[in-house]
Amino acid sequence: MKIKEGFEMRNICGENIIIAHGKENIDFTKVITLNESAALLWDKVVGRDFSEEELVRLLLEEYEVEQTCAAEDVKSLVASWAEAGLVE
């Protein structure tokens, strides 16, 4: 999967907020925030293809968490990104 063109993370007063620009995103009016770990993953994969497995691996490299726990977090993160229409 891939983060859609035009979505960009900006630091707004310390919050990681996803903004959407581009002709395709004119009707996108949601304001989405990412927590620290989600923002870290976003930065690492924005603009290229990635898989859930890769996100889990990236998470394990940065945080001391159990594999199963990381896998669950990634699953719910990817689901929320998909629901918000951020990935394709």
Partner: protein, 298 residues
């Protein structure tokens, strides 16, 4: 005849190249006209008004945008320049703009009677100002602004949220409060780091064109309710509240990121409050004392 104006601390020029058009089309800009250019080293944008001008190519359509009844057709050219066709509520073409990608320079031709021309040219100026200002920490906002003792208070919210009533009640119940602008003020993070609000030549249906400014004390996002309650919004909610109140081209990364980052800078200093309100005196006292930090409103 080239005229110069200063709005929100930024100067811009309007060069009337033909005899049909003149500064008389910009009555509401009169308080902002400047004659002495001393100390001004850069312009926010330069606009040429020339009825004989016609574009030599056609752009690709971005979209048709309803701006309160009137329509803006937006087209982009190969080099990123924009063409914008401004129509009035009756669908009559009033103004065609061709602007550089960063809106520092543009050419327009006008059409119709003086009313249409004035309308078209003012729309062109507002867009130039908003889209050039995005790179200069400057926002053209949709808001109603009260000022008192050098401080500015901005009311946000679409019609039906109680904005007009709340503003009118401020003027009635808060001694010394006056209207700075009723529709399109300029909000700017200035070079000294402070956030100021400025009156502008554009104020919607209320003729209030004040060349004055105030330090922004706070924003109010209004909602009608059967009670009065005020609460400071979180950064995320405040951002979501301010962003739709700014004139911005969502499809244009330079402009959109500029506006988002400016809103961020504004929010570093200025609080946004959510006010659920009745149309009464208590609601004004509550918003005024909360935003100003003053107990008494005298």
């Amino acid at each position: 005849m080239k005229e110069f104006y200063k709005v929100g601390g930024h100067c811009y020029s309007v060069d009337f190249r033909d005899e049909r058009n003149s500064a008389a089309l910009l009555k509401s800009s009169d308080p902002f006209r400047i004659i002495d250019m001393e100390g001004i080293d850069s312009l926010l944008f330069e606009l040429v008004v020339d009825d004989s001008w016609r574009p030599d190519r056609k752009g690709v359509e971005i979209g048709q945008f309803d701006c309160g009844g009137n329509n803006h057709g937006v087209y982009v050219l190969d080099d990123g320049s924009y063409q914008i066709l401004v129509s009035d509520v009756s669908g009559r073409h009033c103004c065609l703009i061709q602007a550089l990608p960063d809106f520092t320079s543009a050419r327009v031709c006008l059409n119709g009677d003086d009313g249409m021309r004035s309308f078209g040219l003012n729309n062109a100026l507002m867009m130039m100002y908003a889209f050039a200002g995005a790179s200069r920490m400057t926002l053209l906002m949709h808001a109603s602004v009260m000022q008192k003792d050098g401080d500015g208070y901005l009311c946000l919210g679409v019609s039906g949220t109680g904005k007009s009533t709340h503003t009118a009640n401020w003027l009635r119940y808060i001694p010394g409060a006056e209207l700075l602008n009723d529709d399109n003020p300029v909000v700017r993070v200035c070079n000294d780091g402070r956030v100021r609000v400025y009156g502008s030549p554009w104020s919607g249906k209320t003729p209030c064109y004040k060349n004055e400014d105030a330090i922004v004390k706070g924003f109010l996002q209004l909602k009608q309710a059967p009670y009065n309650r005020i609460e400071r919004m979180s950064i995320v909610d405040a951002f979501a509240s301010l962003l739709p109140s700014c004139s911005v081209m969502k499809w244009d990364r330079r402009d959109y990121v500029g506006v988002c980052d400016t809103v961020s800078k504004v929010l570093e200093q200025v609080p946004v409050f959510f006010l659920e309100n009745l149309p009464d005196e208590d609601a004004c006292r509550l918003s005024y004392t909360t935003l100003s930090g003053k107990k008494e409103h005298a």
